[in-house]
Symmetry: C2
Subunit: 254 residues, 2 copies
């Protein structure tokens, strides 16, 4: 039965599949990424992945508690790759910017996988490591804890949110075998100018801009703001001023 998944480090025996491949968590995740790229973000199924691995679909349940668990592992892999491709230079602003772009481009390197996973928090080790890294950068830079936490929150949510959104658009375009720009051109071009004067007036600019990500612009805006805050904090520390930005309201629900 597949109720209990054996944790990866405790695995000892590796019996090869009927078709000869020797399975592992790593191999499964990597193959899943390939299947996702080839068949789209909804094309990852237990049976298809089994075939791609040369194994019975049910074998997957020896490694993951279910497809949902596998999905989280894929997200964790992308986050890990981002972290691996990044290294600290010692300057907080540049480091944060590089880390954000690393996360963003790691996800966009696998748009179908990203569309599937980026809006989920996995709580797995490499993801936690990223959180720790960001907080470390901010606190070391001199941000007081409250500000560091607020910035960390904005930073990570912003990065993940844009990764999900941009990946979704990119995956859609790839699956439609067209460029993003063509898509946006046709979207805006067919609108009647009398009903949508502003869109009509800027249609060409829109088609040129939409296929690019707004993430760098927004990220820089956030970092500019943070830098200004830091300066204010430093000068306030010498005069004893303790004013802070007003808190944001909680996310509403009804």
């Amino acid at each position: 039965m597949a109720k209990q998944v054996v944790p990866e480090p405790a695995r000892r025996r590796r019996r090869p599949t009927q078709q000869g491949t020797v399975l592992s968590e790593r191999l499964i995740v990597h193959t899943a990424l390939r299947v996702l790229r080839e068949h789209g973000s909804t094309g990852l199924t237990a049976r298809r992945l089994g075939t791609a691995l040369g194994a019975d679909p049910s074998t997957l349940y020896r490694y993951f508690a279910g497809m949902d668990d596998l999905t989280r592992a894929i997200g964790e892999e992308l986050m890990g790759r981002a972290l691996d491709s990044w290294s600290a230079a010692g300057e907080w602003r540049a480091d944060l910017r590089a880390l954000g772009l690393a996360i963003h481009s790691s996800y966009l390197a696998h748009p179908q996988a990203a569309a599937l996973t980026a809006s989920r928090v996995t709580g797995r080790p490499r993801e936690i490591a990223v959180d720790e890294t960001i907080l470390g950068i901010l606190r070391t830079a001199g941000f007081p804890d409250v500000a560091a936490v607020r910035l960390y929150h904005a930073f990570i949510d912003l990065s993940l949110a844009f990764a999900a959104l941009d990946a979704g658009a990119l995956a859609l375009a790839e699956e439609a075998r067209t460029t993003d720009e063509e898509m946006w051109t046709s979207t805006y071009a067919r609108l009647p100018a009398e009903s949508y004067p502003h869109i009509a007036a800027t249609a060409r600019l829109l088609a040129a801009r939409m296929p690019h990500s707004a993430y760098p612009v927004v990220l820089d805006t956030l970092l500019d703001n943070a830098a200004a805050q830091l300066v204010a904090t430093r000068s306030a520390a010498t005069t004893g001023d303790r004013s802070a930005r007003p808190e944001a309201p909680p996310a509403g629900d009804s």
Copy 2:
């Protein structure tokens, strides 16, 4: 057969269902929202929706081309509600801020539906109307077209991205029948302090902050930045200065 869906305005006859209900696009979308709230973001199925409507599942295909089409209609409904709950006051910054928050809270009012739809562009009328509105606000405020388009892009993507992310977290918490704060507390509290010193040092602050949305903070940051740009543009216009911010790089892929 269900190959061709009859467009809504062209519908004439409304035969009641065996159980007596008279279907319509509106009724189906509204019922879908209820089903989503009750059964979670993955709980919307053709059969379940059929039962909730008192109709055969296959009847849905008389109104929508498929579950995917229905999903887009749900997203369109949420966007429409945001637009309806908003009204222009005439001041661009306040208007944009209100519109952003309206979109965000309209989606968060139905977290399960939002998690399902917010990362998709529908291209339907009400969504286009929102685009036109945003561009109108910016251009009327005096932003040159290039800046208006860049801001529009950042604004709408930011809002949708956060709607998707926050809705996902909220839906997860609701389905786990727990508060977000409990979730985050348990997530951070069980980490060893020696491996994650920065998280450990700020655990209580994190648990208090994470259940709130970072969207208002980031949105305000973006609008601050835009306001500063506008002032610079105006003074530049009098001196003939035409310097602009450097362009953002395109979204990478590999």
